[in-house]
């Protein structure tokens, strides 16, 4: 899901837990806005996306993760628009019977999101705005 509103990690985990009582491990990745990046200060972030394509790419990651890992479910949210330092950017929640599968799938999903979802970050720095293009 792509949205400008913030999300609650607790609520998203609660939704994940509600899916199955077989769930033994939930691994979560939360990406937040840092005040420093590659040697310069950052004051604020703005995320832009190619709406339809980004939604499709997120769905594809979910389907592919469910196919290739022994997990029960995976949920992804990415925020767009203006995001202040310390605020939430992205959340990935993976529920599995066993923790190793959840760790592997969660790390894979965030890597894949960065590679395949058309979302772009603009950093506002004391010296102006920078569109970030490297994959961290």
């Amino acid at each position: 899901m792509i949205q400008s509103a913030d999300f609650s990690v607790e609520e998203e985990i609660a939704k994940m837990k509600a899916i199955s009582s077989r769930m033994g491990g939930i691994v979560t990745f939360l990406g937040t806005a840092r005040d420093f990046s590659k040697g310069h200060d950052v004051v604020k972030l703005t995320f832009e996306h190619y709406s339809k394509m980004a939604e499709q790419a997120m769905l594809k990651i979910r389907e592919s993760a469910l196919e290739q890992f022994s997990i029960i479910d995976v949920m992804m949210i990415h925020r767009i628009g203006e995001i202040g330092i310390g605020e939430n950017i992205v959340l990935i929640v993976v529920g599995a019977e066993h923790r190793q599968d959840a760790f592997t799938a969660c790390a894979w999903c965030i890597d894949e999101l960065k590679k395949t979802v058309p979302i772009w970050k603009r950093e506002e720095t004391p010296d102006g705005q920078i569109w970030v293009e490297e994959r961290p």
């Binding site: 190619y50 394509m53 058309p118 979302i119 772009w120 970050k121 293009e133």
Partner: protein, 82 residues
């Protein structure tokens, strides 16, 4: 939608192109690379693009893809979500 195409720019390409999107009259199918060549004449800054991926109707394509009237073409710089 028929007889025209829409071209969309994102991130720094939007700044380079000076616009977010443009609709152009378009009558006859042609390869994407031909369309790009034409655009580069109008917007020379596009020539400096590196690592750009192209999408047609929300699917990644290469330069050889054939563009049809009604298509939405997007110039996608390297992503930086997450």
């Amino acid at each position: 939608m028929p007889h025209q195409i829409t071209i969309r720019f994102f991130a720094h390409l939007k700044d380079l192109a000076g616009m977010e999107s443009v609709s152009l009259p378009f009558e006859q199918d042609c390869p994407l690379k031909q369309l790009i060549a034409q655009l580069e004449e109008t917007i020379p800054a596009l020539k400096s693009r590196g690592g750009i991926q192209m999408a047609v109707n929300h699917a990644f394509v290469n330069d050889e893809a054939i563009i049809h009237p009604g298509d939405e073409i997007a110039f996608l710089p390297p992503f930086s979500g997450g």
